[in-house]
Structure formats: structure tokens, C-alpha cells
């Protein structure tokens, strides 16, 4: 990485950008400790305050989220369940900043997500969140290795050599190193989802957001994915997962149920598995 680029980064650097990067004038950039979840942090890593989201439709205004307030602690494995159209994905989109908020506040690691410009959000997401989709969303024209390297390329956290090394490590972690030069369509759905997880971990973000990560997978493969998630939580990550899968929800440390855009009141940590199964 050339110094000039680093200087550029410094100029556009938002306040949450790891402080050591802009000071690093050497050719190597390293992931910095401050970017990872600090196990000593006390309090919530993510807070949502009275989050509302409205859509205008030909049939009139539709309120997808009706004032969600929730806090998520570091190292938590949170599962969000609910019927189709209840607002689960919309809630995730509010946390990731992928969709605009109608009112309320979303704070992640002390950053107000919706106060950033879209460009700032993009870079912030790349560094702080790993997003995993039901349909994997890998770049079809890039090899598995290149797919995993892509977030590192966009966020300039690592030199190309270091990126490649790290991408291989991540693929090794998800047991796909031997397939790293294949294109996504040459591997199975479960393998593609493991690549998507590796990609989500590329910049070593503190938070992983997964939207129906096991929705397209068979039960055995889904179990493998959930094992990885548990492992990630043990490594210090915070995971927020939307699912219809009852067994997946059972792995979570906390389950939130969302009904018609509202969090179901009551003890959400012991939500009835019956209701989860009913939504599936």
C-alpha cells in the first residue's frame, strides 16, 4: 500500500476509522486491535432507539417497523425471528445502514449509523460489519479467493500480499482452501455460504449480521454453518441472525421475536420454540 493512498484515507477518514492506519507510513497495514470487539467493553455494542421505518405504497403508507428499541451486548449471539413480512430483514437493514431510517437512532460501537453519508456507511460497513445473505451473493465472476479478498481491497486494510494470505487463512478456516481458485458456481450452496462467511470475516469486523444464512441449505450443512457461528462468538464476535430455522434459533444466546413491526413484549430470551416453528 502506498503512502499516498494512506494519506487519502486519512483525509476522508471518518471518526470511527482505526486510528493506527493513518499513522502507518510503512508498506504494510495490519488489522488493528481497536477494530475488534474489546472484551473489556462494558455495555451494549449496538443500540436501537425507537426505530421506525415507513414505506409508501400505492395502497398507502406501510409501517414496517413501529418503534423498535433494543440493545445488543458484545459477544452476544442474537437471533431475530418472526413471520414473513414481520420486519426482520428491515430491522437488519436499519442496523447495517443498508436502508434509510424513517425515525429513531441506531448506534453501533458508538457510531450513529444513519448520521453518516452513504459513502461513509459503505466503508464503515466494510470495516465493522460482516454481512451474510441467504442467497450468498458472491461475485460470480471472481474465484473464491478473490471474493474473500474483495472487502480487504475496498477497505485498504491490508496490502495485496497480506490480503491474499489472510483470505487463504479464512478459506482454510471454513475448509475450502483447496477450492480457492474455483468460481462460485463450481461449488455447492453450503460451500458458497462458507465462502460468504469467510468474506464476512475478511476485515475482521466485530459484528456479523446474517439474514437467513441457512435458509437455502440442507440441515447437515446448516449445522456446520451454525457451528462456525458459535465458534465466531467464542472468538469474540457479536452475531445477529435472522432465521426461520428453529434449530438455528436454539443455538442463539438470545432470541427476539418481531410481530408486525414490533418486538413481542415479554421475556425474549426464552421465546417459545413453538412460535419459531410456526413461522417456518
Amino acid at each position: 500500500m502506498k503512502y499516498a493512498v494512506l494519506k487519502n484515507l486519512e483525509i476522508i477518514k471518518p471518526k470511527w476509522f482505526p486510528s493506527t492506519i493513518s499513522d502507518n507510513s510503512s508498506n504494510e497495514i495490519h488489522a488493528v486491535e481497536s477494530n475488534k470487539i474489546d472484551s473489556t467493553v462494558v455495555g451494549s455494542i449496538i443500540t436501537l432507539q425507537d426505530v421506525k421505518k415507513n414505506y409508501q405504497t400505492p395502497a398507502g403508507d406501510f409501517q414496517a417497523l413501529k418503534g423498535i428499541t433494543v440493545s445488543i451486548d458484545p459477544n452476544e449471539f442474537l437471533c431475530i425471528v418472526g413471520k414473513s413480512g414481520a420486519g426482520k430483514t428491515t430491522l437488519l437493514n436499519m442496523i447495517t445502514g443498508v436502508d434509510s431510517i424513517s425515525s429513531g437512532k441506531v448506534n453501533v460501537n458508538g457510531i450513529s449509523v444513519h448520521d453518516m453519508s452513504e459513502d461513509e456507511q459503505a466503508l464503515w460497513r466494510g470495516l465493522n460489519l460482516g454481512i451474510i445473505y441467504q442467497s450468498f451473493e458472491l461475485m460470480p465472476m471472481l474465484t473464491l479467493l478473490e471474493n474473500v479478498m474483495l472487502p480487504m481491497d475496498f477497505c485498504h486494510l491490508y496490502t495485496p500480499g497480506k490480503s491474499r494470505e489472510r483470505a487463504r487463512e479464512l478459506l482454510r478456516m471454513v475448509e475450502l482452501e483447496e477450492h480457492m481458485n474455483k468460481l462460485p458456481n463450481a461449488i455447492s450452496g453450503g460451500q458458497q455460504q462458507r465462502v460468504a462467511i469467510a468474506r464476512a470475516l475478511a476485515n475482521d469486523p466485530p459484528v456479523i449480521v446474517a439474514d437467513e444464512p441457512t435458509g437455502r441449505l440442507d440441515s447437515t450443512t446448516a449445522e456446520t454453518i451454525l457451528d462456525i457461528f458459535e465458534h465466531m462468538v467464542k472468538e469474540g464476535k457479536t452475531i445477529i441472525m435472522v432465521t426461520h430455522d428453529a434449530s438455528a434459533a436454539q443455538r442463539a444466546s438470545r432470541v427476539l421475536e418481531i410481530v408486525d413491526g414490533e418486538l413481542k413484549t415479554g421475556d425474549s430470551t426464552n421465546i417459545s420454540m413453538k412460535s419459531i416453528v410456526a413461522t417456518a
Binding site: Y55, Q56, T57, P58, F62, N93, T96, G97, V98, D99, S100, E118, D119, Q121, A122, L123, R125, G126, L127, I131, Y133, E137, M139, P140, M141, L142, T143, E146, N147, M149, L150, P151, D153, F154, C155, P160, N185, R199, A202, N203
Partner: protein, 802 residues
């Protein structure tokens, strides 16, 4: 390589069909622009450079007889650069059909050291020696003799002589004096040394003086002044000038065709640049539409707007660079192929194969800027799209969708089959893209139809020109004969219908200094002649009872722009100065066909002292619509018969031969326009193919879903075919309408360049029909191929399709 650049190359290489379509769309536009720009540059420059290189005479002065002493006197004039004397004559030779035909011969002194009107040796040797002749390449095919063989020449005394053909040369100055019919009507041109004159029973004195100016070679006013000085000097010396032709060094005899082509090329070039721009915008919009989902994913993993814009701009630049690499050589090669055709027919020298810098810059500019500009909006919109929207593949989220009145109308349509309804709604679903597609196809179609219209108009015009040559045979005699006698004799031959006697006088236009200027061919015809139907630009044709009334060719309009109907024109007719009233202007085959005039036979024949007599006889057969061979046979029979009756026949020409010679220049333009029409069709076709294919490729996923819910391959195919046809036919209707103003502009440019007259819009159905057929074939095939590919994918592949 960084993954983002890997993506660029993977996008380029990974989807070869799509890349091919995008590159082809850009390349075909660049090709068309390149070919038009190159031809324009080459024909204009090469004609001028080549013509200047032969050092053409600025003044051609015709004097009945003079020697070197007059030449030495003229050479002493201050602004005279070079002077040469020549003897020119028209004899007859036996052509490849065994008929006697005209042969224009120039006898040149010190032939190997000539500096004015230089000819270029193509085959054989130069200069010709005693009893040897070289001929010009343009009518070489009329001469049967090969190099080293003899050409039989008939002398004015009736004797025949043989001269050896020793060289084939290229003379770019043929038609420069313009008194006859110009280059295309000119006979075979031969070149001999003055020593051969006695062998041809010609006096060894000059009759034509060629002069070049030291300064102001391209300033017509300056050359007129020089002409006055030279004329005065000649008269002071005791010489008699019969006519003077002034021509600038740049004005090649056939430059009007190049002017006409340049005008057409300029308009077509501008339109094609626009067309290419829209084609590129259209294709890239479709490309970006396919990339929206990937943009969304990139945004979720840290890509900022600039990163995304850069990725796609680099991709577009690569497409542009590849298209440029393909277009530069192909356009240049094609341009040269076409220029070689033009140079052969318009008698100019191509200055060697070369890359035209201006064209390459223009192509590079278009290749590197137009796609970037065209793609910037779709790329910027793609990069700006909300991440949530991009992730869902760019589908309209509820808040963005608004049904307009047109949507509501489409949605209310009932009574047609469901597949048809789906096609109809699909066609109008993305109105922005539909508008862009329609605009591109409409413009392509309009240019194609317009080009055909102009070509059709020229073809129609050529048919009208044929009305000057209604007679099957035109027989010119060596002397005047009584018309009633000729008619009486010829009527004994079977198959003869009409015989008209026309009279002829050699005239010169009197210039302001009362000196004879340009030579004019004046014909005296019966005002009620059935063998000529003129094309009038202004005024009227001659009528019975006209005396000194005269109708002038279009050449007068360009040479004397102030001359109007009703004006008096001073002419010297057979050496006698006289005043003539201009009653009209007629159009023949363009300004290069020379100064021609028609007057009332009755008056002219009396004026020149040969009443009731004629030198030219126009004869038509009772059998209608003879072809050129039949006309030749008919003429040959007449000639033999007349000779047996003791008539001195100078030449016999088939009517169609005269028509073909006169309209050869126009025919070249029509051929060229057909080529341009097909070039536009190529751009339009590739544009149509690209757009339709991209549209269908864009819906691969949708096609898969339809198949998943029970649609047969046939249903899917019919859906896309109907959609393709709908777009094709709408564009055809709009293109047909737009073709009218474009046709008008193109015809006007051609007409002004050729005839100095505004055009009358002529619409021919050919272009409309051909484009409709092309549009139908192309829209169907361009839709079917990707639809078939999509229909053959498995449901899993389709749903995973990006």
C-alpha cells in the same frame, strides 16, 4: 492483481456474449464514423494533391494556329509561370466493336519534358515515338488493341492510318476544358509527339495554349486578369483567340461529385456519431442494469461510490479500447476500398494507403469519451442506487413505483391472449430504456430510409435525364445536309420511326473585356421535338417562333451566378458576336457536363447560314425500348446505308451510350449511397441485435421463473418475439417519419453540389420496405437467440443467473 481489477477482466472475459455485444455496438459506430471521416478526408485531399501534382493549366486558350514564337512572347509576361503549345484534334478510330468512334488526340512537343497537364505512365513506355500513341486509362476498355498492337485511325480525308499503342497513361485533366460533356462524355484520349502529326495529315502548328500562373493559381479573379493580359498579348501578336477556359489548380474536373459526396458524408457522419452515441448509451445502460445486484453486494462489503464508478469506468474504457482496436484498421481498409472505386471512376489518384490522423483521433475520441459519457449516467445512477434497492436487483421498491396514465391504459387492455398481454406490458415496463432503444433504432432506420430515398431520387433523376436521349441513334455528319433529303433517304430503311435534324454551332461566351471566354455547345432543336424532354430549373423551354431565345445548362448558374431569366447573354456564334435572351435554365447531369445551350432550330439554322439543313440527326426506331446492343446494330445499319448513299457520317452513337456516359457520375453517387445505406443498416442492425439481446438477457431470471411455473419454451419464445417485433415496428414507424427531414437535407445538399439548384424531395418506397423487412428479421432473430439460450438453462442455473 487486486480483486476489483480481477472483476473488471472477469466481467470482460467471463460473459463473452455480453462483451461481444457491447464491443460490437461501440465498434460498429466507430467503424461507420471512421469510414465516413476517412473517405471524406481521402477524396478531398487526394483529389486536390493528385490534381495539383500534374500541374494543371490555369488557362486553356484556343487559337486556330500558332508557333513557338508566340509561346516565347507569352512566357515573358510577368505572372506566367509556364507555357506550352499543343495541337489537339478529334479523329476517328476503330473501336473494339469494329465501329468508328471519336478519338481525341493531343500532339505534344518535347513530350518527355512536358511540365503542364502531366500524365502518369501506368503501362508500357513513355513518351510515344514517331507513329506511336499512348492512350488514357479511363476509356482504355473501348480500345481493342493491346500494347504493341496497332490502332486504326481514320483521317479527315477518309484515309486510314495505323499507329502503335505503346503506353497506357493516366490523365487527370480530361474534361478540364468542359466545352463538351466533361469527363464522362469525353472520347478516348490519345497522346502523340508532334512528329506524328504529318502521318495523320495534320499541320505541325499548335491550336491550344496551356498556361500556368506564377501567383494566385487558386484565385479565379486573378486568373481572369491574367487571361486578359495573355489575350491582349496574343491579339497584339496577330493571333485570334477562339475561346479561353480558366481553371484553378485545385479544381479537378470531377470535383463536383466530391463536393456532393462530402456534403452527404458530413451529414451522415454527424448523424452516425449521434447514432453511435445512443447505441453505446443504450447498450451500457442495459449492461449496468445487469450489474445492479453486484453493486449492492459491493456496497455492503465496503465499496464506496467512487470505487464502484472507477471499476465500471475502467471496464467501459476496456470495451472502448478493444472496439477502437477493431474499428481503426477495418474502417481504414474499407474506406480505401471505396476510395479506390471512386478514384477509378472519378479519375483521380489515391496518394497511397495511410492511416488518416484526423479519423484516428476522432475514433479514439469517440471510443474513449462517448462510452464514458454515455455510461456515466447509468454508472452513476447504479453507484448511487440505495444499497437495499441494489441488493434486490434494482427492482423498484414500493415507494418508487408510480403508475402513470399510460400504464393504467396498458393494464386495462383486455381481449388479447395472456402471452401477448405480457409482451405488451414488458415492452413498456422500463420506459426510459424503451425510449433509448427506440431513439437509437429510429435514428438508424431514418438514416437508412433517407439514404435510400436520396439514392432513389438520383435514380429517378437519371431516368429523367434519359429524356434528353430519347432517340435510339444520334448520327453526326461531317457536313450539313438537307433534313428533308435525309428523311426521305432514311425512310426507305425499315423500322425507322422519327427522324429529326438538329443543328449545331460552336459558341463562346463573351467576357466583360469583349474577349471570347468559355466554349459553349449550342444545339438548335425543333421546339416541338418528340425526342427531347428537358428538366427545367428556371424559366421555360424554347417555343415555336422564338428567335434569339436560349435555354442554358446548370453550368452557367455556377459559372455566372448573376445570370437570370430575361437577361441578355453575349455569345460569339460560329465567330459572329450576337446577343441572346436567356429564357430558361435546364438541368442535365450536373455542373461538370459543360456549357450547353438549346435554341430554336429555325432561328439558329438561319443564323449560321444553313437553313433547312442539319449536322446531327436523331433517329428513333419503331420498336420501343431497344437495349444498347440493339441500338448499336440499328445505328450500324443506318451508318452503312448512309455511306452507300454517299453521306459523310462522322459518328453514330447509341442513345443509351450517350445517356450512360452523361450519367456515369450520377451512377457513381447512387452506388455510393447504396453502400452508405447498408453501412447505416449495419450500425442499426448491430444496434438492434445488441439492444434486443441485452433486453432478453436481462430477463433470463424472469424467463426461468415463467418456465418454472409452467410456460413452455414456445410460450417463452413467443413472448420475446412479440416484444421484439413491437419495438421494431414502433421504431420503423418513427424512423419513417424522421426520414423525411433527413431525406430532404441530404437531397438538397446533393442537388446544390451537382446542379446549384434546391432539390425537390423525392420519396421512394424501397428504403421503407427494406428497413421494415430488416427490422422484422433482426428483432426476431436478436430476441430468439438469447431467449432460446435462456429457455435451455435449468431452473437452478436461471435462478443463479447474474
Amino acid at each position: 492483481m487486486r480483486p476489483r481489477w480481477q472483476k473488471v477482466f472477469a466481467d470482460l472475459w467471463g460473459n463473452k456474449t455480453r462483451s461481444l455485444l457491447v464491443i460490437a455496438s461501440i465498434a460498429v459506430g466507430l467503424y461507420a464514423v471512421g469510414i465516413i471521416s476517412s473517405i471524406n478526408e481521402i477524396i478531398n485531399k487526394d483529389m486536390e494533391i493528385g490534381y495539383t501534382a500534374v500541374n494543371p493549366a490555369n488557362l486553356h486558350i484556343f487559337i486556330p494556329g500558332f508557333t513557338d514564337s508566340l509561346i516565347d512572347k507569352i512566357r515573358d509576361l510577368p505572372d506566367v509561370a509556364e507555357v506550352e503549345g499543343r495541337r489537339s484534334m478529334t479523329l476517328r478510330y476503330k473501336n473494339k466493336n469494329g465501329e468508328w468512334d471519336r478519338l481525341a488526340i493531343q500532339a505534344i512537343p518535347e513530350i518527355d519534358e512536358t511540365v503542364i497537364n502531366k500524365v502518369k505512365l501506368l503501362q508500357g513506355s513513355w513518351p510515344p515515338d514517331y507513329r506511336e500513341i499512348s492512350i488514357d486509362i479511363s476509356k482504355r476498355n473501348d480500345v481493342a488493341a493491346n500494347l504493341g498492337e496497332m490502332i486504326e485511325i481514320q483521317l479527315p480525308s477518309g484515309k486510314t492510318r495505323e499507329v502503335k499503342l505503346t503506353g497506357i497513361v493516366h490523365d487527370q485533366t480530361i474534361g478540364a476544358t468542359g466545352g463538351g460533356g466533361g469527363y464522362f462524355i469525353a472520347p478516348v484520349n490519345g497522346y502523340i509527339t508532334v512528329h506524328t502529326l504529318d502521318w495523320l495529315e495534320q499541320p505541325a502548328i499548335y491550336n491550344e495554349m496551356l498556361i500556368t500562373s506564377k501567383t494566385g493559381k487558386n484565385d479565379e479573379e486573378h486568373l481572369k486578369d491574367l487571361s486578359k493580359d495573355v489575350n491582349k498579348e496574343i491579339e497584339d501578336y496577330g493571333g485570334v483567340v477562339t475561346s479561353t477556359v480558366i481553371r484553378t489548380t485545385k479544381s479537378h474536373p470531377n470535383s463536383i461529385y466530391i463536393d456532393a459526396l462530402s456534403g452527404v458524408l458530413f451529414i451522415l457522419g454527424m448523424l452516425v456519431v449521434f447514432l453511435s452515441g445512443f447505441l453505446i448509451t443504450n447498450t451500457l445502460s442495459a449492461l449496468m442494469n445487469q450489474q445492479i445486484r453486484q453493486i449492492g453486494v459491493m456496497k455492503t462489503i465496503g465499496a464506496r461510490r467512487m470505487s464502484i464508478i472507477t471499476i465500471y469506468m475502467v471496464l467501459i474504457a476496456l470495451y472502448g479500447a478493444i472496439a477502437l482496436a477493431l474499428a481503426i484498421p477495418t474502417a481504414n481498409w474499407s474506406a480505401y476500398a471505396l476510395v479506390n472505386f471512386l478514384s477509378g471512376t472519378l479519375n483521380f489518384d489515391v496518394q497511397g494507403y495511410r492511416l488518416i490522423a484526423r479519423t484516428v483521433f476522432l475514433q479514439a475520441g469517440i471510443a474513449l469519451i462517448v462510452p464514458q459519457v454515455a455510461a456515466f449516467f447509468p454508472i452513476y445512477s447504479g453507484a448511487k442506487i440505495k444499497t437495499v434497492q441494489a441488493i434486490s436487483g434494482g427492482s423498484n421498491i414500493a415507494s418508487d413505483h408510480k403508475d402513470d396514465a399510460f400504464d393504467r391504459w396498458i393494464n386495462r387492455i383486455r381481449g388479447i391472449s395472456h402471452p401477448m398481454l405480457i409482451s405488451l406490458r414488458n415492452t413498456f415496463r422500463h420506459k426510459g430504456r424503451l425510449a433509448l432503444t427506440l431513439f437509437t433504432l429510429t435514428l438508424g432506420g431514418a438514416i437508412f430510409i433517407a439514404t435510400f430515398n436520396v439514392q432513389g431520387a438520383l435514380t429517378l433523376y437519371i431516368k429523367r435525364v434519359s429524356k434528353y436521349f430519347i432517340a435510339d441513334v444520334s448520327m453526326t455528319m461531317d457536313q450539313f445536309y438537307r433534313i428533308d433529303q435525309v428523311q426521305k433517304d432514311l425512310k426507305t430503311l425499315p423500322g425507322i420511326d422519327i427522324i429529326e435534324g438538329w443543328t449545331y454551332a460552336q459558341c463562346e461566351v463573351m467576357e466583360a473585356n469583349d474577349k471570347p471566354g468559355e466554349p459553349v455547345e449550342m444545339l438548335g432543336v425543333d421546339p416541338q421535338s418528340r425526342l427531347i424532354t428537358p428538366i427545367l430549373i428556371k424559366g421555360r423551354w424554347i417555343i415555336p417562333g422564338d428567335e434569339n431565345a436560349i435555354v442554358l445548362s446548370e453550368r452557367f448558374l455556377s459559372a455566372k451566378p448573376d445570370l437570370k431569366v430575361g437577361d441578355t447573354l453575349d455569345l460569339r456564334v460560329n465567330g459572329v458576336k450576337s446577343k441572346w435572351t436567356v429564357v430558361g435554365f435546364f438541368q442535365l447531369a450536373g455542373k461538370s457536363t459543360g456549357f450547353r445551350a438549346y435554341s430554336n432550330y429555325e432561328y439558329l439554322s438561319h443564323f449560321i447560314g444553313s437553313p433547312d439543313k442539319a449536322i446531327s440527326f436523331q433517329i428513333s426506331s419503331k420498336t420501343p425500348n431497344l437495349n444498347i446492343e440493339q441500338q448499336r446494330q440499328f445505328g450500324s445499319t443506318i451508318e452503312k446505308y448512309m455511306r452507300t448513299r454517299g453521306y459523310k457520317v462522322a459518328s453514330v452513337n447509341a442513345g443509351l451510350f450517350a445517356l450512360n456516359s452523361s450519367t456515369e457520375g450520377l451512377n457513381i453517387l447512387t452506388t455510393f449511397l447504396v453502400f452508405m445505406a447498408f453501412l447505416t443498416a449495419l450500425v442499426g442492425a448491430i444496434g438492434l441485435m445488441g439492444t434486443m439481446s441485452m433486453n432478453v438477457m436481462d430477463r433470463t431470471r424472469e424467463i426461468g421463473i415463467m418456465r418454472a411455473i409452467g410456460a413452455s419454451d414456445r410460450t417463452v419464445m413467443s413472448l420475446v418475439i412479440v416484444e421484439g417485433l413491437l419495438i421494431g415496428i414502433i421504431s420503423w414507424i418513427l424512423g419513417s417519419l424522421l426520414s423525411f427531414p433527413i431525406s430532404n437535407a441530404l437531397s438538397d445538399i446533393l442537388s446544390r453540389a451537382l446542379f446549384d439548384a434546391p432539390s425537390v424531395l423525392s420519396i421512394t418506397p424501397t428504403g421503407f420496405i427494406v428497413w421494415l423487412v430488416l427490422v422484422i428479421i433482426l428483432s426476431v432473430s436478436a430476441s430468439v437467440i438469447p431467449a432460446r439460450n435462456a429457455a435451455h438453462l435449468t431452473i437452478r442455473e436461471v435462478l443463479a443467473y447474474e
